[in-house]
Point group: C2
Chain length 294, copies 2
């Protein structure tokens, strides 16, 4: 170890020690680990002052790009695979796989009745989504809330197009029936690029990564006594399933959106044939009473 | 390795691989290292979703707290010792030690003549700073620029008190004479707390860390053919030299601000006795022609 390395090592230990008085043991553990990894990164890369300035500028720009309808920090976490990793380390093997929240769950979903349409525009391919919320034993979770949001057939969320889409388009908060069943009408979502006009877009450009996500519908299922599940239904025939810009695809979440050209079935669901039908069951796990629900 | 760990490990490798096409080898190296350390941190801590959300919220707040007169991202880097570590890994053993830039070098320093006062208020303890800029061989660097900025005797920078301090108070851009000498008049700076009304202050509170910095004057010395030096002069009898909130103190930068009660010396420097006098020589190292000046 040369004297530079000794000085660097002493500095890291001094910073770690500065958090020894943290009021909360977990806060201390987290901050110490953040310091150790951030310092290891700087030392490993021998980061120059100019690179440090660029990093500071980038993080500043990410924070400043956030507003009521955009969460660029979540987006950065997403494209670095951190959001998916948080899901992976909090996985519940016996329940439906979770995946990332994404940056567009920004507004409350409008409360809708089972069978309602979340599509307020009517120009996309009609689609019916049905499913059942159960507990780990397969018993229905009566009254579970099912919050869904998705982009339209052109790949845009309502909050991205306030002058084109009515507020709440593509969003709905449903309550499962006594058998845990839910159903709603919508349009088939489109693959779309994550927003590339901000600092995260510049990062993707610099690394020649494409910004596309495979077509998907977001879903959060919750009920008292169960762990809240945040997940996606991915459209099985969508492009980009093998190169999702935010690394959120899990095989169990890829769902067949079957094409059905049967007027009788269409009429039963309140759509016109041909339409697509996705059926997706959600298995929740019991809440850990020691940790509380999220 | 259980299946969760395998999935997490595969995810990390997929994210690292996504940067393989980066246009620039260093960009790729940096992003891969960022991903590996960020993922290692999440896995080591088994970060919960709620903790991830808190981290995202904190980073968002840090970015949003930045404006023309405040750089909260630099402040975060400072209190985590990252800014000092960047200086340590870019150290030049044969030259004067560098230290952190800090968040207050936000406005151009007004151009002043040698001997001018940077104190536009006149209520603090008079102080004279003198010094000499040399190269590694001790030869004077004629015409070197010496950019200084400091807080007032109450611990505030001009940009923090636009209604109290005239713009440019405590700031000056000087040009060393033919012998590399510089001199200016000022007041003795005060220790001060870094801004605690933002997200970085909340972090310090949560870890019961005090926010104080020992009294110091910032200095950037630059000249063609030499590496630009960013450093501080610390006041030798200041409190907090052993617990600087931003970990910037180096023994070689602690300077005696001698008290001088001699009317003749005072008159020569254009101040009134008693006054303080700090003498600080700056030794620059040659620029590396392969890397270019910063």
């Amino acid at each position: 170890m040369d004297s530079d390395e000794q000085a660097a090592s002493a500095l890291t230990e001094a910073v770690v020690a500065s958090f020894a008085g943290a009021a909360d043991a977990r806060t201390r553990e987290v901050l110490e680990a953040v310091v150790r990894h951030a310092h290891a990164l700087v030392r490993e890369l021998r980061l120059t002052r100019e690179e440090w300035r660029q990093a500071v500028d980038h993080l500043t720009a990410v924070g400043q790009a956030c507003d009521d309808t955009r969460q660029e920090c979540v987006l950065l976490s997403d494209v670095l695979g951190i959001s998916s990793l948080v899901e992976a380390v909090n996985g519940e093997p016996e329940g439906t796989a979770g995946t990332v929240l994404g940056p567009f769950h920004l507004t409350d979903s409008p409360v809708r009745a089972l069978g309602d349409s979340i599509d307020l525009v009517g120009t996309g391919t009609p689609c019916v989504v049905t499913g059942r919320v159960t507990g780990p034993d397969g018993a229905p979770v009566s009254g579970a809330s099912v919050d869904v949001w998705q982009c339209d057939e052109h790949g845009f969320y309502d909050v991205q197009q306030p002058e084109v889409q009515p507020t709440g388009n593509g969003r709905g908060l449903f309550t499962a029936d006594a058998e845990g069943r839910f159903r709603f009408r919508t349009v088939v979502p489109s693959p779309y690029p994550i927003p590339t006009d901000g600092p995260v877009g510049r990062l993707l450009n610099a690394s020649r990564r494409h910004p596309y996500r495979p077509a998907h519908i977001h879903l959060i299922a919750a009920a008292p006594g169960f762990r809240t599940l945040t997940t996606h239904l991915f459209v099985a025939d969508s492009p980009y399933l093998d190169s999702d810009a935010v690394f959120a695809v899990k095989p169990a979440l890829v769902v067949d959106f079957a094409e059905i050209d049967d007027p009788e079935q269409a009429a039963r669901h309140g759509v016109t044939a041909p339409f697509r039908h996705a059926d997706f069951d959600v298995r929740l796990v019991l809440d850990d009473p020691g940790e509380g629900s999220e």
